[in-house]
Protein backbone atom coordinates (compact mmCIF):
# COMPACT_ATOMS: atom_id res chain seq x y z
CA UNK A 1 0.00 0.00 0.00
CA UNK A 2 1.40 3.28 -1.03
CA UNK A 3 1.76 5.97 1.58
CA UNK A 4 0.38 9.31 0.56
CA UNK A 5 2.55 11.53 2.78
CA UNK A 6 5.45 13.06 0.84
CA UNK A 7 9.08 12.46 1.73
CA UNK A 8 9.85 16.01 0.59
CA UNK A 9 11.22 18.44 1.41
CA UNK A 10 14.65 16.97 1.94
CA UNK A 11 16.63 18.97 4.50
CA UNK A 12 20.41 18.82 4.52
CA UNK A 13 21.87 20.59 7.53
CA UNK A 14 25.56 21.26 8.03
CA UNK A 15 26.38 17.94 6.44
CA UNK A 16 30.09 17.15 6.33
CA UNK A 17 31.91 14.16 5.02
CA UNK A 18 35.41 13.02 5.81
CA UNK A 19 37.34 10.60 3.63
CA UNK A 20 40.95 9.51 3.68
CA UNK A 21 41.64 11.90 6.53
CA UNK A 22 40.46 14.93 4.60
CA UNK A 23 37.31 16.96 4.89
CA UNK A 24 35.73 16.42 1.48
CA UNK A 25 32.32 18.00 2.17
CA UNK A 26 32.31 20.94 4.54
CA UNK A 27 29.09 21.78 6.38
CA UNK A 28 26.72 21.88 3.43
CA UNK A 29 23.11 23.01 4.03
CA UNK A 30 20.21 23.16 1.59
CA UNK A 31 16.59 22.10 1.20
CA UNK A 32 14.98 20.33 -1.74
CA UNK A 33 11.22 20.97 -1.89
CA UNK A 34 8.85 19.04 -4.13
CA UNK A 35 8.98 19.78 -7.85
CA UNK A 36 11.48 21.13 -10.34
CA UNK A 37 14.99 20.25 -11.37
CA UNK A 38 17.92 21.30 -9.25
CA UNK A 39 21.39 21.22 -10.74
CA UNK A 40 24.42 20.62 -8.57
CA UNK A 41 27.05 22.56 -10.48
CA UNK A 42 30.76 22.79 -10.00
CA UNK A 43 34.14 21.86 -11.39
CA UNK A 44 35.50 18.33 -11.22
CA UNK A 45 36.41 17.32 -7.70
CA UNK A 46 34.10 19.84 -6.06
CA UNK A 47 32.24 17.03 -4.24
CA UNK A 48 29.03 16.91 -6.32
CA UNK A 49 28.95 13.15 -6.42
CA UNK A 50 29.53 12.92 -2.67
CA UNK A 51 26.66 15.29 -1.94
CA UNK A 52 24.28 13.19 -4.06
CA UNK A 53 25.44 10.02 -2.32
CA UNK A 54 24.95 11.61 1.09
CA UNK A 55 21.42 12.59 0.09
CA UNK A 56 20.60 9.14 -1.35
CA UNK A 57 21.95 7.43 1.75
CA UNK A 58 24.87 5.63 0.12
CA UNK A 59 27.14 7.59 2.46
CA UNK A 60 26.66 8.66 6.05
CA UNK A 61 27.58 12.24 6.90
CA UNK A 62 30.42 12.44 9.42
CA UNK A 63 28.71 15.49 10.92
CA UNK A 64 25.39 17.25 10.37
CA UNK A 65 22.24 15.58 9.07
CA UNK A 66 20.23 14.54 6.02
CA UNK A 67 16.52 14.47 6.87
CA UNK A 68 13.45 13.54 4.91
CA UNK A 69 10.08 15.06 5.79
CA UNK A 70 8.63 11.58 6.02
CA UNK A 71 10.71 8.44 6.24
CA UNK A 72 8.16 6.21 4.46
CA UNK A 73 6.55 2.97 5.44
CA UNK A 74 8.12 -0.47 5.40
CA UNK A 75 11.57 0.94 4.84
CA UNK A 76 10.94 1.40 1.11
CA UNK A 77 12.86 4.31 -0.31
CA UNK A 78 10.99 6.76 -2.46
CA UNK A 79 14.08 8.23 -3.98
CA UNK A 80 16.24 6.57 -6.61
CA UNK A 81 19.61 7.20 -8.19
CA UNK A 82 21.18 6.94 -11.64
CA UNK A 83 24.96 6.80 -11.89
CA UNK A 84 27.50 8.36 -14.21
CA UNK A 85 28.44 5.04 -15.76
CA UNK A 86 25.25 2.99 -16.12
CA UNK A 87 25.47 -0.14 -13.96
CA UNK A 88 23.91 -2.87 -16.07
CA UNK A 89 23.29 -6.29 -14.55
CA UNK A 90 24.35 -9.24 -16.71
CA UNK A 91 20.75 -9.92 -17.62
CA UNK A 92 18.14 -8.93 -20.16
CA UNK A 93 16.78 -5.40 -20.34
CA UNK A 94 13.51 -6.35 -18.67
CA UNK A 95 15.28 -8.44 -16.02
CA UNK A 96 17.28 -5.36 -15.08
CA UNK A 97 14.03 -3.56 -14.32
CA UNK A 98 12.22 -6.43 -12.61
CA UNK A 99 15.29 -7.12 -10.45
CA UNK A 100 15.12 -3.61 -8.97
CA UNK A 101 11.38 -3.99 -8.42
CA UNK A 102 11.88 -7.35 -6.73
CA UNK A 103 14.50 -5.80 -4.48
CA UNK A 104 11.86 -3.21 -3.52
CA UNK A 105 9.61 -6.07 -2.47
CA UNK A 106 7.03 -5.99 -5.25
CA UNK A 107 5.18 -9.15 -6.24
CA UNK A 108 5.67 -10.83 -9.61
CA UNK A 109 2.54 -9.55 -11.33
CA UNK A 110 3.14 -5.95 -10.35
CA UNK A 111 6.80 -6.24 -11.34
CA UNK A 112 5.87 -7.34 -14.84
CA UNK A 113 3.26 -4.64 -15.21
CA UNK A 114 5.51 -1.81 -14.03
CA UNK A 115 8.40 -3.13 -16.10
CA UNK A 116 6.23 -3.11 -19.23
CA UNK A 117 5.15 0.47 -18.50
CA UNK A 118 8.69 1.64 -17.90
CA UNK A 119 10.11 0.07 -21.05
CA UNK A 120 7.26 1.52 -23.12
CA UNK A 121 7.64 4.94 -21.51
CA UNK A 122 11.35 5.07 -22.38
CA UNK A 123 11.14 3.43 -25.80
CA UNK A 124 12.88 0.20 -24.82
CA UNK A 125 10.03 -2.28 -25.36
CA UNK A 126 11.62 -3.77 -28.45
CA UNK A 127 14.84 -4.35 -26.56
CA UNK A 128 13.12 -6.11 -23.63
CA UNK A 129 14.70 -9.51 -24.09
CA UNK A 130 18.14 -8.35 -25.23
CA UNK A 131 21.17 -8.50 -22.94
CA UNK A 132 21.38 -5.11 -21.24
CA UNK A 133 25.14 -4.92 -21.54
CA UNK A 134 24.98 -5.08 -25.31
CA UNK A 135 22.94 -1.85 -25.55
CA UNK A 136 24.63 1.36 -26.72
CA UNK A 137 25.80 3.85 -24.08
CA UNK A 138 22.77 6.08 -24.58
CA UNK A 139 20.37 3.13 -24.40
CA UNK A 140 22.06 1.88 -21.25
CA UNK A 141 21.59 5.22 -19.53
CA UNK A 142 17.98 5.29 -20.73
CA UNK A 143 17.48 1.86 -19.22
CA UNK A 144 19.07 3.02 -15.97
CA UNK A 145 16.56 5.89 -15.86
CA UNK A 146 13.67 3.59 -16.78
CA UNK A 147 14.76 1.23 -14.01
CA UNK A 148 14.79 4.08 -11.49
CA UNK A 149 11.48 5.44 -12.82
CA UNK A 150 9.79 2.06 -12.39
CA UNK A 151 10.43 2.38 -8.65
CA UNK A 152 8.12 5.45 -8.73
CA UNK A 153 10.47 7.76 -6.87
CA UNK A 154 9.37 11.17 -5.65
CA UNK A 155 12.94 12.38 -5.98
CA UNK A 156 15.42 11.14 -8.58
CA UNK A 157 19.16 11.72 -8.19
CA UNK A 158 21.35 11.65 -11.29
CA UNK A 159 25.13 11.83 -11.10
CA UNK A 160 26.53 13.36 -14.33
CA UNK A 161 24.16 11.19 -16.37
CA UNK A 162 25.40 12.36 -19.78
CA UNK A 163 29.13 12.84 -19.21
CA UNK A 164 29.95 9.63 -21.12
CA UNK A 165 27.47 10.11 -23.96
CA UNK A 166 27.70 11.64 -27.43
CA UNK A 167 25.76 14.87 -28.14
CA UNK A 168 22.75 13.11 -29.71
CA UNK A 169 22.33 10.73 -26.81
CA UNK A 170 22.88 13.60 -24.39
CA UNK A 171 20.10 15.59 -26.03
CA UNK A 172 17.78 12.60 -25.75
CA UNK A 173 18.46 12.12 -22.04
CA UNK A 174 17.90 15.82 -21.40
CA UNK A 175 14.49 15.59 -23.08
CA UNK A 176 13.63 12.61 -20.93
CA UNK A 177 14.58 14.50 -17.79
CA UNK A 178 12.43 17.47 -18.75
CA UNK A 179 9.57 15.00 -19.25
CA UNK A 180 10.12 13.52 -15.77
CA UNK A 181 9.92 16.99 -14.20
CA UNK A 182 6.73 17.68 -16.16
CA UNK A 183 5.36 14.43 -14.76
CA UNK A 184 5.89 15.80 -11.26
CA UNK A 185 9.04 13.97 -10.29
CA UNK A 186 11.53 16.10 -8.41
CA UNK A 187 14.99 15.81 -9.97
CA UNK A 188 18.40 16.61 -8.56
CA UNK A 189 21.36 16.10 -10.84
CA UNK A 190 25.00 16.96 -10.92
CA UNK A 191 26.83 18.22 -13.97
CA UNK A 192 29.92 20.15 -14.90
CA UNK A 193 28.39 21.00 -18.28
CA UNK A 194 27.30 24.64 -18.19
CA UNK A 195 25.16 24.34 -21.33
CA UNK A 196 23.26 21.45 -19.81
CA UNK A 197 22.73 23.35 -16.58
CA UNK A 198 21.37 26.34 -18.52
CA UNK A 199 19.00 24.12 -20.51
CA UNK A 200 17.61 22.14 -17.59
CA UNK A 201 18.03 23.86 -14.24
CA UNK A 202 15.31 25.65 -12.33
CA UNK A 203 17.67 26.09 -9.43
CA UNK A 204 21.46 25.87 -9.11
CA UNK A 205 23.57 24.72 -6.16
CA UNK A 206 27.15 25.73 -6.90
CA UNK A 207 29.71 23.62 -5.13
CA UNK A 208 33.41 24.41 -4.85
CA UNK A 209 36.02 22.43 -2.92
CA UNK A 210 33.41 20.70 -0.76
CA UNK A 211 31.60 23.91 0.18
CA UNK A 212 28.25 25.15 -1.09
CA UNK A 213 29.14 28.65 -2.26
CA UNK A 214 25.89 29.62 -3.98
CA UNK A 215 22.25 28.41 -3.92
CA UNK A 216 20.00 30.41 -6.28
CA UNK A 217 17.28 30.41 -8.86
CA UNK A 218 18.86 29.28 -12.14
CA UNK A 219 17.91 32.36 -14.20
CA UNK A 220 19.38 34.68 -11.57
CA UNK A 221 22.49 32.52 -11.23
CA UNK A 222 23.32 32.56 -14.91
CA UNK A 223 22.46 36.30 -15.16
CA UNK A 224 24.99 37.19 -12.49
CA UNK A 225 26.37 34.86 -9.84
CA UNK A 226 27.26 36.38 -6.47
CA UNK A 227 30.21 34.23 -5.51
CA UNK A 228 33.56 34.92 -7.06
CA UNK A 229 34.27 31.19 -7.72
CA UNK A 230 30.95 30.89 -9.58
CA UNK A 231 31.79 33.89 -11.74
CA UNK A 232 35.16 32.43 -12.58
CA UNK A 233 33.51 29.07 -13.39
CA UNK A 234 30.97 30.70 -15.70
CA UNK A 235 33.79 32.58 -17.41
CA UNK A 236 35.54 29.28 -17.98
CA UNK A 237 38.49 30.24 -15.80
CA UNK A 238 37.93 27.91 -12.91
CA UNK A 239 39.19 24.43 -13.64
CA UNK A 240 38.95 23.18 -10.10
Amino acid sequence: MRDTASILPLRVENASFQGEGRLLIDAVSFTIPAGGLTVLLGPNGAGKSLVLRLCHGLLEPSAGSVRWAYSGAGGIKRHAMVFQKPIMLRRSVEANVTHALAAAGLAGAERRQRCGEALARFGLSERATQPARLLSGGEQQRLAIARAWALRPELLFLDEPTSQLDPAATRQIEELLAGLVAEGITVMMSTHDLGQARRLARRVLFLHRGRLVEDRDAAEFFAGPQAEEARAFLAGELIW
Binding site: H56, L58, G75, I76, K77, A80, M81, F83, I87, M88, L89, R90, R91, H99, A100, A103, A104, P131, A132, R133, L134, L151
Partner: protein, 233 residues
Protein backbone atom coordinates in the same frame (compact mmCIF):
# COMPACT_ATOMS: atom_id res chain seq x y z
CA UNK B 1 56.32 -50.64 -23.12
CA UNK B 2 54.67 -50.65 -26.50
CA UNK B 3 52.61 -47.54 -27.07
CA UNK B 4 50.63 -49.24 -29.80
CA UNK B 5 49.40 -51.81 -27.30
CA UNK B 6 48.50 -49.07 -24.85
CA UNK B 7 46.33 -47.23 -27.34
CA UNK B 8 44.80 -50.48 -28.43
CA UNK B 9 43.87 -51.27 -24.85
CA UNK B 10 42.38 -47.81 -24.37
CA UNK B 11 40.43 -48.09 -27.59
CA UNK B 12 39.12 -51.54 -26.72
CA UNK B 13 37.95 -50.21 -23.34
CA UNK B 14 36.09 -47.26 -24.77
CA UNK B 15 34.55 -49.00 -27.75
CA UNK B 16 33.96 -52.37 -26.15
CA UNK B 17 31.77 -50.88 -23.39
CA UNK B 18 33.00 -53.50 -20.97
CA UNK B 19 30.50 -53.51 -18.05
CA UNK B 20 33.20 -53.47 -15.36
CA UNK B 21 34.87 -50.56 -17.07
CA UNK B 22 31.56 -48.69 -17.45
CA UNK B 23 30.80 -49.29 -13.77
CA UNK B 24 34.16 -47.77 -12.83
CA UNK B 25 33.62 -44.75 -15.06
CA UNK B 26 30.08 -44.18 -13.86
CA UNK B 27 31.08 -44.50 -10.20
CA UNK B 28 33.92 -42.01 -10.74
CA UNK B 29 31.59 -39.51 -12.34
CA UNK B 30 28.87 -40.05 -9.77
CA UNK B 31 31.23 -39.55 -6.84
CA UNK B 32 32.96 -36.52 -8.30
CA UNK B 33 29.84 -34.79 -9.62
CA UNK B 34 28.03 -35.33 -6.34
CA UNK B 35 31.03 -33.95 -4.47
CA UNK B 36 31.19 -30.89 -6.74
CA UNK B 37 27.44 -30.39 -6.39
CA UNK B 38 27.62 -30.46 -2.59
CA UNK B 39 30.73 -28.30 -2.60
CA UNK B 40 28.82 -25.77 -4.72
CA UNK B 41 25.92 -25.72 -2.24
CA UNK B 42 28.39 -25.03 0.55
CA UNK B 43 31.05 -23.00 -1.21
CA UNK B 44 29.08 -20.57 -3.37
CA UNK B 45 27.11 -18.91 -0.56
CA UNK B 46 30.09 -18.98 1.83
CA UNK B 47 32.47 -17.57 -0.77
CA UNK B 48 30.00 -14.80 -1.57
CA UNK B 49 29.47 -14.05 2.12
CA UNK B 50 33.23 -13.86 2.61
CA UNK B 51 33.49 -11.47 -0.34
CA UNK B 52 30.95 -9.10 1.17
CA UNK B 53 31.84 -9.25 4.84
CA UNK B 54 34.52 -7.40 6.72
CA UNK B 55 35.72 -8.73 10.05
CA UNK B 56 38.97 -8.92 11.97
CA UNK B 57 41.00 -11.86 10.79
CA UNK B 58 39.42 -11.88 7.34
CA UNK B 59 42.79 -11.71 5.55
CA UNK B 60 43.96 -14.69 7.59
CA UNK B 61 40.85 -16.64 6.58
CA UNK B 62 41.48 -15.82 2.92
CA UNK B 63 45.11 -16.88 3.13
CA UNK B 64 44.11 -20.13 4.83
CA UNK B 65 41.52 -20.89 2.14
CA UNK B 66 43.99 -20.19 -0.63
CA UNK B 67 46.45 -22.52 1.08
CA UNK B 68 43.76 -25.16 1.49
CA UNK B 69 43.39 -25.19 -2.29
CA UNK B 70 46.73 -26.97 -2.30
CA UNK B 71 45.84 -29.42 0.47
CA UNK B 72 47.34 -32.79 -0.47
CA UNK B 73 44.40 -35.11 -1.21
CA UNK B 74 45.89 -37.89 0.88
CA UNK B 75 45.81 -35.61 3.93
CA UNK B 76 42.13 -34.88 3.37
CA UNK B 77 41.67 -38.61 2.95
CA UNK B 78 43.49 -39.35 6.17
CA UNK B 79 41.35 -36.88 8.13
CA UNK B 80 38.14 -38.37 6.75
CA UNK B 81 39.51 -41.86 7.37
CA UNK B 82 40.21 -41.10 11.04
CA UNK B 83 36.76 -39.53 11.44
CA UNK B 84 34.84 -42.32 9.75
CA UNK B 85 36.78 -45.32 11.04
CA UNK B 86 34.77 -47.53 13.38
CA UNK B 87 37.15 -46.44 16.11
CA UNK B 88 36.75 -42.76 15.17
CA UNK B 89 34.14 -40.23 16.31
CA UNK B 90 31.81 -40.88 13.34
CA UNK B 91 32.44 -44.62 13.29
CA UNK B 92 28.87 -45.63 14.16
CA UNK B 93 27.71 -44.26 10.81
CA UNK B 94 29.56 -47.13 9.14
CA UNK B 95 30.60 -44.98 6.20
CA UNK B 96 34.25 -45.94 5.81
CA UNK B 97 35.00 -47.80 2.57
CA UNK B 98 31.79 -46.58 0.90
CA UNK B 99 31.24 -44.20 -2.01
CA UNK B 100 29.79 -41.75 0.51
CA UNK B 101 33.14 -41.57 2.28
CA UNK B 102 34.80 -40.78 -1.03
CA UNK B 103 32.27 -38.02 -1.66
CA UNK B 104 32.94 -36.55 1.78
CA UNK B 105 36.70 -36.53 1.15
CA UNK B 106 36.31 -34.91 -2.25
CA UNK B 107 33.94 -32.28 -0.87
CA UNK B 108 36.71 -31.34 1.56
CA UNK B 109 39.09 -31.01 -1.37
CA UNK B 110 36.73 -29.01 -3.56
CA UNK B 111 35.08 -26.65 -1.07
CA UNK B 112 38.19 -24.47 -0.52
CA UNK B 113 38.57 -24.02 -4.28
CA UNK B 114 34.94 -23.04 -4.70
CA UNK B 115 35.02 -20.65 -1.74
CA UNK B 116 38.29 -19.00 -2.75
CA UNK B 117 37.37 -18.52 -6.40
CA UNK B 118 33.81 -17.47 -5.56
CA UNK B 119 35.14 -14.87 -3.17
CA UNK B 120 37.35 -13.40 -5.88
CA UNK B 121 34.63 -13.42 -8.54
CA UNK B 122 31.93 -11.99 -6.27
CA UNK B 123 34.25 -9.35 -4.86
CA UNK B 124 35.06 -8.08 -8.37
CA UNK B 125 31.40 -8.09 -9.33
CA UNK B 126 30.43 -6.31 -6.12
CA UNK B 127 32.92 -3.56 -6.86
CA UNK B 128 31.08 -2.99 -10.13
CA UNK B 129 27.52 -3.41 -8.85
CA UNK B 130 27.86 -1.93 -5.38
CA UNK B 131 26.35 1.51 -6.02
CA UNK B 132 23.31 0.21 -7.84
CA UNK B 133 22.61 -2.69 -5.49
CA UNK B 134 22.92 -0.50 -2.43
CA UNK B 135 20.70 2.08 -4.13
CA UNK B 136 17.91 -0.47 -4.57
CA UNK B 137 18.40 -1.68 -1.01
CA UNK B 138 20.36 -4.89 -1.57
CA UNK B 139 23.18 -4.83 0.93
CA UNK B 140 25.15 -7.49 2.73
CA UNK B 141 23.74 -10.98 2.51
CA UNK B 142 20.74 -9.77 0.47
CA UNK B 143 23.09 -8.93 -2.40
CA UNK B 144 24.43 -12.50 -2.61
CA UNK B 145 21.80 -14.10 -4.89
CA UNK B 146 22.14 -11.29 -7.44
CA UNK B 147 25.93 -11.52 -7.41
CA UNK B 148 25.97 -15.31 -7.70
CA UNK B 149 23.52 -15.28 -10.55
CA UNK B 150 25.29 -12.54 -12.47
CA UNK B 151 28.63 -14.24 -11.89
CA UNK B 152 27.26 -17.61 -13.03
CA UNK B 153 29.55 -18.06 -16.01
CA UNK B 154 32.72 -17.24 -14.11
CA UNK B 155 31.48 -19.38 -11.22
CA UNK B 156 30.93 -22.35 -13.54
CA UNK B 157 34.65 -22.15 -14.25
CA UNK B 158 35.35 -22.25 -10.52
CA UNK B 159 33.24 -25.39 -10.21
CA UNK B 160 35.07 -26.83 -13.17
CA UNK B 161 38.38 -26.26 -11.41
CA UNK B 162 36.92 -28.14 -8.46
CA UNK B 163 35.78 -30.93 -10.72
CA UNK B 164 39.25 -31.19 -12.22
CA UNK B 165 40.86 -31.52 -8.83
CA UNK B 166 38.37 -34.10 -7.60
CA UNK B 167 38.35 -36.25 -10.70
CA UNK B 168 42.13 -36.40 -10.94
CA UNK B 169 42.96 -37.17 -7.33
CA UNK B 170 43.64 -40.66 -6.08
CA UNK B 171 45.09 -40.19 -2.60
CA UNK B 172 41.85 -39.42 -0.80
CA UNK B 173 39.52 -41.90 -2.51
CA UNK B 174 42.05 -44.69 -2.14
CA UNK B 175 42.39 -44.18 1.61
CA UNK B 176 38.70 -43.75 2.43
CA UNK B 177 37.17 -45.87 -0.34
CA UNK B 178 39.51 -48.84 -0.12
CA UNK B 179 39.46 -49.48 -3.89
CA UNK B 180 36.90 -52.27 -3.51
CA UNK B 181 36.21 -53.92 -6.84
CA UNK B 182 32.74 -53.08 -8.11
CA UNK B 183 31.97 -50.85 -5.16
CA UNK B 184 34.52 -48.11 -4.54
CA UNK B 185 36.90 -48.60 -7.44
CA UNK B 186 37.22 -45.39 -9.42
CA UNK B 187 39.21 -44.58 -12.54
CA UNK B 188 42.14 -43.24 -10.54
CA UNK B 189 42.28 -46.05 -8.00
CA UNK B 190 41.92 -48.58 -10.80
CA UNK B 191 44.85 -46.93 -12.56
CA UNK B 192 46.89 -47.22 -9.37
CA UNK B 193 45.95 -50.89 -9.00
CA UNK B 194 46.69 -51.79 -12.62
CA UNK B 195 50.03 -50.02 -12.37
CA UNK B 196 50.92 -52.06 -9.29
CA UNK B 197 49.91 -55.22 -11.11
CA UNK B 198 52.30 -54.28 -13.86
CA UNK B 199 49.47 -54.03 -16.38
CA UNK B 200 50.69 -50.71 -17.70
CA UNK B 201 48.70 -50.92 -20.93
CA UNK B 202 45.42 -51.16 -19.05
CA UNK B 203 46.52 -48.46 -16.59
CA UNK B 204 47.45 -46.03 -19.33
CA UNK B 205 44.34 -46.99 -21.27
CA UNK B 206 42.23 -46.00 -18.26
CA UNK B 207 44.30 -42.85 -17.97
CA UNK B 208 43.54 -41.93 -21.56
CA UNK B 209 39.86 -42.49 -20.95
CA UNK B 210 40.03 -40.20 -17.92
CA UNK B 211 41.74 -37.52 -19.99
CA UNK B 212 39.16 -37.82 -22.77
CA UNK B 213 36.27 -37.59 -20.31
CA UNK B 214 37.77 -34.55 -18.63
CA UNK B 215 38.33 -32.96 -22.01
CA UNK B 216 34.75 -33.57 -23.03
CA UNK B 217 33.33 -32.09 -19.86
CA UNK B 218 35.59 -29.07 -20.16
CA UNK B 219 34.69 -28.57 -23.80
CA UNK B 220 30.97 -28.63 -23.03
CA UNK B 221 31.37 -26.24 -20.12
CA UNK B 222 33.62 -23.96 -22.15
CA UNK B 223 31.12 -23.88 -25.00
CA UNK B 224 28.28 -23.12 -22.59
CA UNK B 225 30.21 -20.32 -20.94
CA UNK B 226 31.13 -18.80 -24.31
CA UNK B 227 27.50 -18.72 -25.33
CA UNK B 228 26.60 -17.33 -21.94
CA UNK B 229 29.32 -14.71 -21.97
CA UNK B 230 28.14 -13.45 -25.33
CA UNK B 231 24.67 -13.12 -23.93
CA UNK B 232 25.79 -11.39 -20.76
CA UNK B 233 28.07 -8.96 -22.55
Amino acid sequence: MDFGAIFQAAFALMVGLDPTFLAIVSLSLRVTLTAVFIAALIGLPLGAALALSRFPGRPAVIVCLNAMMGLPPVVAGLVVFLLLSRSGPLGPLGLLFTPTAMIVAQVILVVPIVIALTRQIVEDLWAEYRDHLRSVGLEGLRAIPTLLWDGRFALATALLAGFGRASAEVGAVLVVGGNIAGYTRTMTTAITLETSKGDLALALGLGLVLIVLTLMINAVAFGASRVGARYAG
